[in-house]
Amino acid sequence: MKKLLTDFNKAFESKVRLGIMSVLMVNDTADFNTLKDLLNLSDGNLASHIKALEELNYIIVEKQFIGKKPNTTYGATKEGKKAFNTHLKALENLINNQGK
């Protein structure tokens, strides 16, 4: 049991951070409002979790302008994708072992 839990990533203990990564695994990029709507969050809540993931180098932030409006998009880094997949495997292993 203990060995099983070593692959669990502390960063993904938060449902929000896991959610952000889930979206960025299947979309090359997503902007702030899309993430906010999908995860049903407030601006501040989402921003703090994004910051945490950014500090871990799991996501990359790109700022650009659409016309005159600033638009910030987020994408998962290689490191982030790897970490997410490891975490998923750990979850799957746990489920498989529960069955036994």
Binding site: L18, N27, E92, I95, Q98
Partner: protein, 236 residues
């Protein structure tokens, strides 16, 4: 008597304490979801963020009904003009005069089908609380359009060169390719519909001259079958 009441009270007190504890355990359980719940949530989030799932099955059924009605109108019109549709050669020369009617017929079907589709899909998106023109919808439309518009231009070129016999098979094949291509951006069931349309188009290329029949089968009957299937699978 007094003692009995005390005993009962004590008992009641104990039950309420154990009940409270039981509820606390339950609520703690709710706070940390099981790995299976987490995985399900991840999967749903991935689907919701990358696929447009508000597409209404009913719009398929309506498109099919319009297509059948339109095909029947074309069939009747050709017969009234003394052109047995399924008979023989020089089809292009004999049918040239019927083109305006057939093209208007096709456009009416197209506009009705798209209009009903937009209406029903908007209604469903509103009901589900999804936005109609979000990222996923845009991706779906772009990816559906590329093969579909190519097919449309291809068919116009065929008509221009007088190769009308190849128009219905080409419409089916290109429409099928569009659906297969677009299936990554909406419900995956669309993929099988696309493959069926492609197969039907290829068969009708071999049995040439029965274009109207295959067209009605592909755009009419298949839409009704798939639309009904998807309606019952996702909306009931």
């Amino acid at each position: 008597m007094q003692r009995q009441i005390e005993e009962v009270m004590q008992h009641l007190d104990l039950t309420s304490v154990s009940l409270a504890l039981y509820h606390k355990v339950l609520s703690m359980k709710e706070k940390t979801p099981s790995p299976l719940e987490t995985l399900t949530e991840i999967k749903q989030l991935m689907e919701r963020s990358s696929r447009f799932i508000s597409l209404s099955g009913l719009s398929g059924v309506f498109a099919g009904v319009y297509a059948l009605a339109g095909a029947y109108a074309a069939y009747r019109y050709l017969n009234l003009e003394g052109l047995g549709y399924f008979s023989g050669e020089n089809f292009f020369e004999r049918t040239r005069s019927t083109f305006p009617f057939l093209i208007i017929d096709a456009l009416v079907i197209l506009i009705l089908a798209i209009g009903t589709g937009i209406y029903l899909t908007t209604r469903k998106a509103k009901k589900d609380g999804n936005s109609i023109l979000d990222n996923t919808a845009r991706k779906l439309l772009i990816n559906l359009s590329i093969p579909l518009v190519t097919g449309g231009l291809f068919c116009i070129a065929l008509i221009y060169h007088g190769a009308v016999l190849y128009v219905p098979p080409s419409m089916l094949v290109f429409y099928g390719l569009s659906l297969v291509h677009a299936s990554s951006y909406t419900r995956n069931d669309i993929r099988l519909l696309g493959l069926t349309e492609i197969a039907l188009g290829l068969i009708s290329l071999l049995i040439i001259g029965y274009g109207l029949f295959f067209w009605a089968l592909g755009f009419g009957v298949l839409h009704i079958i798939y639309g009904t299937y998807m309606y019952y699978k996702y909306e009931v």
